[in-house]
Symmetry: C2
Subunit: 332 residues, 2 copies
Amino acid sequence: MREFEMLERLRARIQARGDRVLTGSGDDAAVVRCDGLTVTSVDAFVESVHFRLATTSMRDLGHRCLAAAVSDLAAMGAEPGEAYFAVGLPPQFGEREVLEMTDGAEALAEELGMTICGGDLTACPELFIVVTAVGHAEDEDELVRRAGAGPGHRVGVTGALGGSAAGHLLLERKDGGLDPELGDELLQRHLRPTPLVATGRALAGAGVTAMLDVSDGVASDAERIAECSEVLVEIDLTRLPLDEGVEAVAVSAGLDPLELAAAGGEDYELLFTAPDTVAEQVERAAGSAGSPVTWIGTVREGAGVRLLAEGGASRRLRGWDHFSRPNLRTSP
Amino acid sequence: MREFEMLERLRARIQARGDRVLTGSGDDAAVVRCDGLTVTSVDAFVESVHFRLATTSMRDLGHRCLAAAVSDLAAMGAEPGEAYFAVGLPPQFGEREVLEMTDGAEALAEELGMTICGGDLTACPELFIVVTAVGHAEDEDELVRRAGAGPGHRVGVTGALGGSAAGHLLLERKDGGLDPELGDELLQRHLRPTPLVATGRALAGAGVTAMLDVSDGVASDAERIAECSEVLVEIDLTRLPLDEGVEAVAVSAGLDPLELAAAGGEDYELLFTAPDTVAEQVERAAGSAGSPVTWIGTVREGAGVRLLAEGGASRRLRGWDHFSRPNLRTSP
């Protein structure tokens, strides 16, 4: 009964937080108290597609998978509550690996005040992790969808971009020449991203009209806002805020830094739109939550995304979609 | 942008039901109205571990994975609400396969009044499906855990057992000699199980004290009740209700029919305990919901599970755990 013993030890490592969880892991299903709305996101991660174990520890993996799923809740302005993990384990993986992953996820859950409420553990030739993250909100006014962007609204982004993609390049290519401390920051940006929960709630409260998290890269993520809001989203690539070190890593890899910033993805910053009237309020709210805001574009009537390069000329980026992107990036 | 187009077509095949779902698939996260408690179960299914595509259509797979996850909600007495699918797709799988699987899941969702609210789609060398099923209840009194069994309570099971395991044997061995209609019923029992939602709610309302669904086989599932309730669960194997045809299939495979009934699993019947005082009420409630009840044992002080064979002698079954069982059963 290897599975049940492993689950016992796993349960001993996780802890309930808050007073919502009435039954956590160990019954047929988890029972959670809700008063209003639940906000649910499911994210799947597969070895050799989303990460490589050669460059990612199980502990980092636990953190990163939970962070990515919670980032979707942050982008709605929801308060993170519970997480469920479904894990497919290759034969060479044992209890040690599962517990390390759990420790990584549990440490982030503690930071976020979340409870890991259970999941499923199964054999699988390929390592995979599926995280279901559930957040809460009292009513719809607290939440921001992708569909509220209107012509004339500004396009804003929090923090800086390209750091995760640069960290990934460093991880895979072991490029030298970069200040080790800076390099380490980029690696952390890739391996242990921070979901911007407080920033997301602050932005929602400040009146942003559409929002999502930067998971595929602003170019592709802006497309989602454009589709859902039925508008044209114009982004001035020259205004994209770059993480420190992104330029050096990109140049050394023979890539355009803007490519990393706009299409690298997995920065888990927040991309949003807001009318001029609330711009100042938005900057203040995000700033108080620890996130600077950069205005990088404008919403217009039309459809799709227009990327502007130097001098306002239109520019195309390589099309990286969810299927090809990770592979492209593993061997760029 | 293959993924986004596929998701568009997928979304066109699924439908919202009831008035809980405020935002379904297509935003950062689904938004669902809740009034009281959510009940959440996550189940993972992997090709070559839980099913083989050689013997399972994508449509059946969609049905079966959703059924298994919802069966956990039924075992709590919850009302099924939403489902989320995370799917890992091997390179040779395309839109056709995903839509077939969706159709199978959506048809069952319609029967159950559930809404498929989204999920995630990713590349993976091995096909996997993770279903997160969410149910609802107004308060805790409506729900039944695994922990309420007390000494003197009866042990009951709904319907009949062994049908899924027998169907699986038929599927893998293509044994002849069985009445084709009967064989087909056993196959359906394995490929398209029915989660006993109405029965679960009826049993919860009638006062059962502990309940779970028969996923690993009553012998192993009774162990879970014994652990959670800190009791000894005694099961009289000679009283197990067998699906029609199980005996013939077992004999032709050189197996003991009781082994299939007690350890085959995936019957998705409900195993429960109840004091004598509510026994009649329990039988009536389950009967009204379409499920006959058979009393198969007694809860006693102690720990673990005792299986009784002919004449009350103790009996041991082969230990099949979650990891080894499907493989054992694929080549018994």
